[in-house]
């Protein structure tokens, strides 16, 4: 579903008292085409969006409504949840809610998130109650602690002749046992979901996704930092990067057999950075580039992380690592060089990978970060999923809604990529509302030696068919005739394709349909 860009253009045009004909002339399109855009009947992006934004004195990102698009997407998904089946909000209504009051939309999403957390806790509690042992054990421990505290309190009260040592020891015990009691009580409240329980909050992954999405997956500060370092590197092979770390930070890089203990180990005291001997050159380079960012720009990373106001330490740590990875990618795939190469190669991911010595996932992710105002790349979506369909990374600037709370449409090519490992597969996919996209996907090869326990993922990027000609993968496809496009949805719950043989869940009732009672 499209973000209400058209309404925003019309509203702003009227605010600045510009006629449709006048604006159309200024941005060099026909008035009738502008009329279609203003009524949201044509997709808009790229250079034209920037020209209109300039003429209307608006920020193109605000006009594109990246944040609004995300809210609409998430709210639509929430509206399709079985818990809300009796309400049946349709897409138009969702769009109106977001346009009229984005804050209200955020409140609804926060409530749904809280509901999701409560549902998960309820399931967990059900499992625990089934065992009984958790509550029994917790109550035993708490009673023992209360008894101990009571005993020492009585001793301190009744025995005025205690020696100083005894008194100090008993007070220490009292304090220690009180702290244990507080901790035990906290655990029990958490378990019971009582008044003292933790407040529901989004998962670290969700928080990070929101932050990245709010920044359109583009961080100018990190790009600038990478460009600052790049000239003093010269080359960017493993040896050069390792030498840079030694010369600038006194860190020695070494290879080691690290079976079962991860791919890398940084010893801050020993000033050694160990890399698993199973890592290929590309992976080594990215890890070294990331470490340069972590050592050279700790304040920048900390400031950016703090600006996200995440709700947990683990989320902050993960975001900081993700931002350092962003720096690493920006260092090894400099913005301008990469953007030009992407355009010239028509987004040939293999050629880009060969030129920048990067994996399929790294190239795809970097393509999705090309959002520098004035030098924007093609708006893309990026998705990473495992073989069970669990989504671990997602970002969308293409307009495609990516599911947040469940699995994606099983017809999406990203799932089928696992059938042909390491081969790039493509798909022209058409959503029920008529919007069509070019999807490009491939699996990501696990590190050698970790095929059994390593991570197996597939990555998919894509763009609207309007932008597909910018991709080498569109060659030979009849993009003017979409009758052969694969009919897809976003999630089964929201999909209107009742005849789909791949349907995994029943569709929820149409808007206006009465809920079963």
């Amino acid at each position: 579903m499209r973000a209400p860009i058209g309404q925003r253009i019309r509203k702003r045009r009227q605010e600045v008292a510009l006629s449709q004909v006048a604006l159309a002339a200024r941005v060099e399109i026909s008035p009738s085409y502008l009329n279609l855009i203003e009524h949201n009947k044509r997709a808009i992006g790229g250079a034209l969006l920037n020209r209109i934004a300039t003429e209307l004195d608006l920020d193109s990102r605000a006009l594109a409504g990246t944040e609004e698009a995300r809210l609409i997407a998430e709210l639509s998904e929430v509206a399709a949840d079985s818990a809300l089946s009796g309400i049946a909000l349709d897409h138009r209504e969702v769009s109106e809610i977001v346009a009229a009051n984005p804050k209200a939309a955020r409140v609804i999403l926060a409530l749904f998130r809280a509901y999701g957390e409560a549902r998960m806790r309820s399931d967990l509690m059900g499992e625990r109650l089934g065992e009984e042992s958790f509550l029994a054990e917790a109550s035993q421990q708490i009673l023992a602690l209360i008894t101990t505290i009571r005993s020492y309190s009585e001793i301190l009260k009744d025995h005025g002749d205690l020696s100083d040592d005894e008194r100090a020891r008993f007070v220490d015990t009292l304090v220690g046992e009180s702290e244990r009691l507080a901790s035990q009580a906290g655990d029990l409240f958490d378990f019971l979901g009582g008044r003292g329980a933790r407040r529901p909050r989004p998962s670290p992954r969700e928080e990070i996704e929101d932050f990245v999405s709010d920044h359109a997956n583009h961080f100018p500060g990190l790009e600038a930092a990478a460009e600052e370092v790049r000239p003093s590197l010269g080359m960017d092979d493993v040896g050069t990067l390792a030498r840079y770390l030694l010369d600038h930070h006194g860190v020695t890089v070494a290879r080691a057999s690290m079976a079962g203990s991860g791919d890398e180990l940084f010893e801050p005291d020993g000033k050694r950075f160990l890399l698993a001997d199973t890592l290929g050159q590309g992976s080594q380079r990215f890890r070294l580039a990331r470490l340069i960012g972590e050592l050279e720009y700790p304040d920048l990373l900390a400031t950016l992380t703090a600006s996200a106001s995440l709700t947990s330490g683990s989320a902050s740590a993960r975001l900081k690592r993700a931002l350092a990875n962003y720096f690493g990618a920006a260092l090894l795939m400099p913005y301008e060089d990469f953007a030009v190469a992407a355009t010239e190669s028509r987004h040939d991911i293999q050629r880009l990978g060969a030129r920048f010595n990067a994996s399929f996932e790294q190239v795809c992710h970097r393509l999705a970060t090309l959002r520098r105002p004035g030098m924007e790349g093609v708006p893309l979506h990026f998705l990473r999923a495992d073989i069970a369909g669990n989504i671990s990374k997602r970002f969308s600037a293409s307009g495609l809604r990516l599911p947040r709370y469940g699995g994606a449409c099983p017809r999406w090519i990203v799932h089928h990529a696992f059938a042909t490992p390491d081969r790039i597969v493509t798909q022209v996919a058409r959503l029920p509302d008529g919007d069509a996209y070019l999807f490009i996907a491939s699996t990501c090869t696990p590190t050698p030696g970790t095929e059994t326990l390593g991570s197996h993922h597939a990555v998919m990027i894509g763009t609207t068919v309007a932008n597909a000609a910018n991709f080498v993968y569109a060659d030979g496809l009849d993009l003017d005739n979409l009758t052969h496009a694969v009919p897809v949805g976003v999630t089964c719950r929201q999909c209107s394709r009742d005849d789909c043989a791949q349907r995994a869940f029943d569709r929820l009732p149409e808007p206006g349909a009465r809920a079963m009672t």
Binding site: S139, L143, A144, I146, T147, R150, S151, Y152, E154
Partner: protein
């Protein structure tokens, strides 16, 4: 001369220490065991007048300790005060059925436990 000997069988170290302190102050000779097997072993060796026995002991629980003591035909059989948890009515009934002399429920007052121990010791002497 002490007023009697007590074996405190309790795995919570601090609680056991508080009980020991109060009983020693009351003139009793106290030994502490932290699990089921050592409780049985110490009971056989020191032949205490009273055992203050927690139900939830590691190794084997308070009921199993009583069964083991009976199997060993301790003579005289020590008087036993069972420490049970509030709300575990079945435990109390089972303890009394096994012939324990008294029980107190957590969270209890240590003063109360000491008084009950002393009461059992007096009963023993009278008997």
């Amino acid at each position: 001369m002490t007023a009697g000997s007590v074996l405190v069988a309790e795995d919570e170290r601090n609680l056991a220490e508080a009980l020991s302190f109060l009983m020693q102050r009351a003139g009793l000779e106290v030994t502490v065991a932290r699990d089921g097997p050592s409780t049985v072993d110490m009971a056989r060796r020191i032949k205490p007048d009273v055992i203050v026995l927690d139900i939830m002991l590691p190794g084997f629980d308070g009921f199993e300790v009583i069964a083991a003591l009976k199997d060993n035909a301790l003579n005289p059989m020590p008087r036993i005060i069972m420490l049970t948890a509030k709300g575990h009515e079945k435990d109390k009934r089972k303890a009394l059925d096994l012939g324990v002399d008294d029980y107190v429920t957590k969270p209890f007052s240590n003063r109360d436990v000491v008084e009950r121990v002393q009461a059992l010791l007096i009963q023993g002497k009278v008997a």
